[in-house]
């Protein structure tokens, strides 16, 4: 019996899916006074869930240039007229990332193709870069989120391929080789980095730059 089937059976019994659990776990990372950088998909779902429950005053920052404190309907893309409507500020991608780069965004969410033990994420290629076995679309805002936000949470479904010892391509550096101060050394903001990885199976944290299992759903 594969893990995947067990998962489905468990979901049936529990009355909610593993994806639901990922969204809820992610939402729990958000506090009421947080400024949250989100992309589309599960991160957007999580931030809207938080805003509708325990964190009604959180501010949501979206890469194309939207800053909102007012609730809104779940969009299908990072930008749409629903996302614009009744926002506090409409501006550009540069401006919202300035908020991040200057330390004013405390929590960020991102998906990832792969994540390794030091929290480095791969959104680019499996195998050789010039002749890849698989290609994802690249960083997008992922590298920006993990570079700038005080605390970044990575959300992805768990499998052996998605959790290699070291990723083939570092799109978004976490703690690099895990040695202390490595992020600061290369010129990233001090004290930032991935703080959690949320999967369909559980939640991981980081201790001394290395991923550790915190809880199983």
């Amino acid at each position: 019996m594969t893990q995947e089937k067990t998962q489905e059976e468990l979901e049936k019994e529990a009355g909610y899916t593993a994806t639901d659990q990922m969204v809820i776990s992610a939402a729990r990372q958000i506090k009421n006074d947080d400024v949250v950088y989100v992309g589309v998909g599960l991160p957007m779902l999580a931030s809207l869930f938080a805003k509708n429950s325990h964190a009604p005053d959180c501010n949501i920052v979206i890469e194309n240039g939207t800053i909102r404190s007012y609730i809104f309907a779940l969009p299908r893309a990072t930008d749409s007229l629903q996302v614009h409507y009744q926002s506090d500020q409409l501006t550009g991608l540069a401006n919202v990332n300035y908020l991040g780069q200057s330390g004013h965004i405390n929590i960020g969410f991102m998906g990832a193709g792969q994540v390794d033990r030091y929290g480095n994420c791969n959104d680019t290629a499996i195998g050789d870069y010039h002749n890849p076995v698989h290609r994802w679309p690249g960083s997008g805002g992922g590298n920006d989120v993990m570079s700038f936000c005080k605390a970044t949470t990575v959300i992805l479904r768990q499998s052996k391929q998605r959790f290699p010892e070291r990723v083939d391509f570092v799109t978004c550096p976490g703690y690099l080789d895990g040695k202390p101060g490595r992020r600061e050394e290369i010129g990233r903001p001090a004290g930032n980095g991935p703080v959690a990885v949320i999967t369909n199976l559980g939640i991981y944290g980081f201790e001394n730059g290395e991923m550790v299992l915190e809880s199983v759903h």
Partner: protein, 300 residues
Amino acid sequence: MSKVMTMTEAISKFVKSGDLLFISGAQHGEPSAAIHEIVRQKIDHLTVVACLVNTQQLLIGEGLVDKVLTGYMPQDESRSTGLAKSRRIGKRPEIKEYSHFGIAMALLAGQMGIPFMPLKCMIGSDMLKYNDNITSMERPFDGGQIGAVKAITPDIGILHVQRCDAEGTAQKWGTVGVDQEGINASRKIIITTEKIVDADVIRRDPNRTMIPGFRVSAVVEQPWGAHPMHMASCYNGDMFGYMMDLRGEEKYEAYLKDLVYGTANWDEYLKKRAEVKGEEYFKNLEIKNPVKSEPIISGF
């Protein structure tokens, strides 16, 4: 000499083979009508810089692009018909990868007229191994390292806006992605606009201006010019419908044959698309419950 002209004229006069082309509209209001015209005129050997622009896959698929500068682009050819076609016809472009902010800062440096922009992202990633437009450098004043991205100065930029005057003084609102930086960084500029308005409309609200007319080479009035993307104040988008319309070789080729090569201009495209999609299609994209902003006052 008036800058107002047809799309055919504007593209043929100002977009040249070999140009570095900036396409505006990061998911909001890209100049789709202009891109169709570039495809029709087969202007090739382009380098494209853009952020989340959907119609760029037509340029790629038709073999017109030598190089893409991008933060995000579907590269799984089983899911990107345009890219798959470019390989098939031996025209797969070289792809230089940045983060979104990296692209924004490269264009900002272009706008500002400086050769690079320092930044704190991308460094430490493997992007630097394959993109020599990103580097690590020593900081002045306090020492230590920081990242830097090389300026991008497009030969030609195309911006679609809600309104501009006949001189090209252009105003866009809603999210502006990398438009401000990209269009101002461009040497030649084409403005496509939902509506050409009297200069007085612009001058009663000059804070909305994204680029002054003296920077602009051509002005093209084209309602629904950003479809299938949305345009604030004007219409909703159908991005996912459009993606499905282009998914797979057969549909992609049919779209190109019917809606690009099979039309002389964007108005014909809109008419044909309405025929295929049903008469309610464009009506459904209209804004349902518009609210108005408070006017502001000028004068002394």
